[in-house]
């Protein structure tokens, strides 16, 4: 549905300094299938919003190609640049960008009213379509309300309705939930996901919130410094991060440096200063190669007392704990390092207690050192 090829976008640093250009997007290629929600995830300044704005037509890329449903919207090679208002995409802005001088109905009707005359529906047709889409986002009872009188969640749905009223082939969402409070954000997350699935919308979703990205998308692209670091299904990206950056950005990880000691089938034995770890990995690593083992805290089990020193079983001492409601975080010192372990709320071990630290198999992912 959406195909981006070798997209590059740079900005001039500031007035007068022609030579200094900051590359916001550096050679990105990706493809989004029909009916999928594709998420661009990354810290601020990673180029995710710039990428989205290039698709929308609000930024002009330096080079590359963007096509939606086989219609080329931008191509530096073929010298095509369709203006934003002729692309026919729907977009939801971070600030919602609800027009404060129009009421709810007029906000949603606007995209239909500005269609060229030959494509524009009759005013009755406009009314029907606006009412239908307002019904979908459950705002039909507020149609005549002034847009600024809506609550945050309602404004959010209004922005969505305005983007959907054109029935665009592609919906672009720029951090649409980041202005909502935590509770409402949870609700809207499910609501958005439901709408997307029910209406079969193809969407590109930009966020810096990993929970949002994991919960909503069919596929996630983790971006860093203008490049895509890893693309995959949410579970894949979470469980098999290919770099330290991804492992660190999505969820929390303990990073344990070591080197490959030997291979046993599809498992590797990793030598670390605090004891050996047995890690499953699909990728190939040479014996002796320096690696980093990323261990998810939620797959680390603590038991009071000693437990021998089999692979993946270490001895440690609880240094601190923090009760977080659903879970209890423990900081355990093992040899020279500190390991964070996340236990369910029934397990709460006071500091200064000696514990056995058991890493479950699924806690690990193996990452080449230096990435």
């Amino acid at each position: 549905m959406l195909r981006i090829t070798n997209l590059v976008k740079s900005f001039g640093a500031s007035r007068g300094e022609k030579r200094k250009r900051v590359f916001a997007v550096e050679d990105i290629s990706l493809e989004v299938d029909e009916g999928q929600l594709f998420t661009l995830l990354g810290p601020s300044g990673c180029g995710k919003t710039t990428t989205l704005r290039c698709v929308a037509g609000l930024e002009t890329p330096d080079s590359g190609e963007i096509a939606v449903a086989d219609r080329v919207l931008f191509s530096s090679e073929k010298r095509i640049r369709v203006p934003a208002n002729e692309r026919g995409l729907g977009m939801v802005f971070q600030s919602y960008a609800i027009w404060p001088h129009m009421n709810v109905f007029k906000n949603v009707a606007f995209p239909l009213q500005v269609l060229p005359r030959r494509k524009r529906p009759s005013s009755k047709g406009i009314k029907e379509r606006v009412e239908r889409v307002l019904g979908v986002v459950r705002l039909d009872h507020l149609a005549s309300r002034q847009a600024t009188d809506l609550s945050g969640g309602q404004q959010q749905r209004l922005a969505l309705a305005r983007a959907l009223v054109m029935e665009p082939p592609l919906l672009l969402l720029d951090e649409p939930l980041s202005n909502l409070d935590a509770k409402l954000r949870d609700e809207m997350r499910f609501e958005l996901k439901r709408l997307q699935r029910e209406l079969g919308i193809t969407g590109v979703y930009v966020t810096h919130d990993q929970v949002e990205a994991l919960a909503m998308s069919n596929r996630v692209a983790v971006m860093r410094d203008g490049k895509i670091e890893q693309v995959g299904a949410p579970r894949e990206v979470y469980e098999r991060p290919i770099s330290r950056f991804v492992a660190d950005f999505i969820g929390t990880s303990n990073f344990i440096d070591g080197s490959i000691e030997r291979r046993e089938g599809s498992d590797y034995i990793v030598k670390t200063p605090d004891g050996p770890l047995r890690v499953h990995a699909d990728a190939d690593f040479a014996v002796g190669a320096p690696v980093v083992v990323a261990a998810r805290p939620e797959h680390i089990e603590l038991t009071v007392g000693e437990n021998g020193t089999a692979p993946n079983h270490w001895q440690g001492r609880v240094e601190a704990r923090a009760f977080l409601g659903e879970v209890v975080d423990h900081v355990v010192s093992v040899g020279s390092r500190e390991i964070r372990a996340r236990c369910n709320s029934k397990v709460s071990i006071p500091p200064e207690t000696d514990v056995a630290v058991a890493f479950h198999e699924e806690a690990f992912s193996l990452i080449p050192a230096g990435e």
Partner: protein
């Protein structure tokens, strides 16, 4: 992969295709180019002609004009007078304005609304009426204050036709401007900065000296510079009071040499350039200050409710000061105008004249063809220039705030340049343009004054428009684009409606100030093209004081309506701005 370095902005976005040409000549680009051209034309061309006329004679670069101008008799005293007048009236305005602002914002004095009403006075009493009213109040022979207060008390008279007299009249007229500037500054000051000084154990006087004043310093400097420029370019007081007392300054001198037969354009140019140099330095310093003091800003966007300082025994002197200011700056000038308008021949109020009042002078004015013409000309010019300026500046501010056009900051700077050009100097520049350019017959029409007003009020229009433009999130416009609206549609249906409060506020402001414009108009008007302020000027020259007062009273009435309307409208529209 590298970016196309040089090709930037609009041209860059034309990363081009079969329809590059179509896009290059799109309606949007044509409008943008036209607006930029107009802004540059009206700001720069009169200055260019002024330079040419002053420094070039028979195709040769020369300083002859300056030699001529500065060899005239009494030149040193004129320059000294100019500076003394500027310094003195600024000092009076600064002292009064700052003191009153502090009392109103930070202390528990009563009658606060009275002071805010008084701060509108410069808007509703044009400078020329203020000046003439003060002649009635403080001239040594007929001045009411002299006759009834000063002479009985001291046996002597205060002479308004002297340098100190001029300073007082000008200072009183400008004090409200300082007041408003300083009120804004005192209000935006975070009280926790002072409170933390108090908590550190400092007594109130130390807090004032070590915290309050340093925090207000950028605003104080800014106000001083604005005052310096305004007093240097002031025309009404020097021309009406100064000439009668033989006190010459730059502005009155420029006007004088242009009234000579034949007019000495070169000398006028030389004086204008000198004055322009002084005011430009002021504006330049002011803009530098504004840039630097941004790091100094105490505004955090939170609403403060500063705890008022309890004045204690000082409360009564402070109250007296406010009442006295209100009477002297507002009540007396308006009362004397009202009184003068009821007399057949002006003489100072006595029991006899007060019992013999008539409305004859109002009838005279209403039935005078000249007055009707003046009202019509002023209305046409006011409405025309206010509308034109706001339309132009809506687009110009959009270019500056929204586009990535290279060099767009120049439009911003150029549109603010006229702030440094005294009205009289601008008048001279525009006169040169349309006297010298063959084939353009604007002289003897209202158009030449329209050009002057367009130039003079462009900076204000820009400020109103760009302030509102900054408040409109970029995304509001982008969402119109992604909704399929073209540039013109999104400008008309999203940008302009959202700008409207700012545009209307600016429109009314320009309407108000253009109706009172005197210093450019007096250079450019021709018989039959008089405006209201010109008519008042002429009536003053001819000694038709009752008619002048009647016309002035009606003008003040109309301005009160306009100003009230502006405030009502501003408040009503303001609510929906959220």
């Amino acid at each position: 992969m590298t970016a196309p370095g040089a090709a930037a902005g609009a041209l860059r976005s034309g990363i081009v295709g079969r329809d590059t040409l179509r896009r290059l000549f799109s309606g949007r680009n044509l409008i943008v180019v036209a607006v930029i051209a107009i802004v540059f034309y009206i700001a720069l061309v009169p200055l260019g002609f002024l330079l040419w006329e002053t420094f070039v004679q028979d195709g040769q670069l020369t300083l002859e004009r300056f030699r001529e101008a500065y060899s005239a008799i009494g030149l040193t005293s004129m320059a000294a007078n100019s500076l003394a007048f500027a310094a003195g009236s600024s000092a009076i305005a600064m002292t009064l304005g700052t003191l009153l602002a502090y009392l109103i914002v930070r202390t528990d004095v009563p009658f606060k609304p009275l002071m805010f009403a008084a701060s509108l006075v410069p808007l509703i009493i044009p400078g020329i009426l203020h000046t003439i009213a003060w002649i009635f109040l403080a001239s040594p022979e007929i001045g009411v204050i002299n006759l009834h207060v000063i002479q009985p008390l001291t046996g002597r008279s205060f002479d308004v036709f002297t340098l100190p007299g001029m300073m007082l009249v000008e200072g009183l007229h400008l004090a409200p401007l300082v007041f408003l500037l300083m009120v804004a500054s005192f209000r935006s000051m975070d009280p926790s900065l002072e409170e933390s000084a108090i908590m550190s154990g400092a007594p109130l006087s130390t807090v004032f000296r070590r915290v309050t004043i340093p925090l207000a310093r950028p605003a104080l400097y800014a106000a001083v510079l604005i005052m310096a420029v305004r007093t240097l370019e002031s025309f009404e007081v020097p021309a009406i009071i100064g000439l009668q007392g033989g006190v010459w300054v730059f502005t009155s001198r420029i006007w004088h040499v242009l009234k000579d037969k034949p007019p000495s354009y070169g000398q006028a140019g030389a004086y204008s350039m000198s004055l322009l140099l002084l005011t430009s330095v002021g504006i330049y310093l002011h803009s530098r200050l504004a840039k630097r003091s941004r790091s100094y800003q105490t505004v955090t966007g939170k609403g403060f409710r500063p705890r008022p300082v309890h004045l204690g025994v000082w409360r009564w002197p402070a109250t007296l000061l406010i009442l006295l200011y209100f009477v002297v700056a507002v009540v007396l000038p308006l009362a004397i105008l009202l009184y003068a308008s009821t007399q057949r021949f002006y003489s100072p109020p006595t029991r006899a004249t007060l019992s013999d009042m008539s409305l004859d002078s109002y009838r005279d004015v209403i039935h005078s063809d000249l007055a009707v013409t003046a009202v019509r000309n002023s209305t046409v010019l006011g409405l025309g220039s206010a509308t034109a300026v706001m339309l132009l500046m809506a687009i110009a501010s959009w270019i500056v705030v929204r586009t990535r056009l290279p060099g767009r900051w120049m439009i911003d700077n150029v549109s603010f340049m006229p702030l440094a050009i005294p009205g009289l100097v601008l008048g001279v520049g525009i006169l040169f343009v349309y006297l010298r350019v063959p084939g353009v017959h604007l002289y003897n029409t209202l158009w030449i004054m329209f050009m002057a007003y367009l130039t003079r009020y462009m900076p204000y229009g820009m400020r109103y428009a760009s302030t509102s433009m900054f408040q409109i999130g970029r995304e509001l416009e982008e969402s119109a684009l992604t909704s399929g609206a073209g540039w013109f549609q999104s400008f008309r249906r999203v940008v302009v409606p959202l700008l409207m409060p700012g545009l209307i506020a600016g429109w009314i402001y320009i309407l108000i100030v253009s109706v009172r414009e005197l210093s450019s108009t007096i250079i450019l008007y021709s018989p039959g093209k008089e405006t209201l302020s010109i008519l008042i000027w002429e009536m003053n020259q001819n000694g038709e004081f009752p008619q002048l007062a009647a016309l002035g009273t009606m003008m003040v009435g109309a301005l009160i309506v306009l100003v009230t309307l502006a405030y009502k409208l501003g408040a009503r529209i303001g609510i929906r701005e959220a």
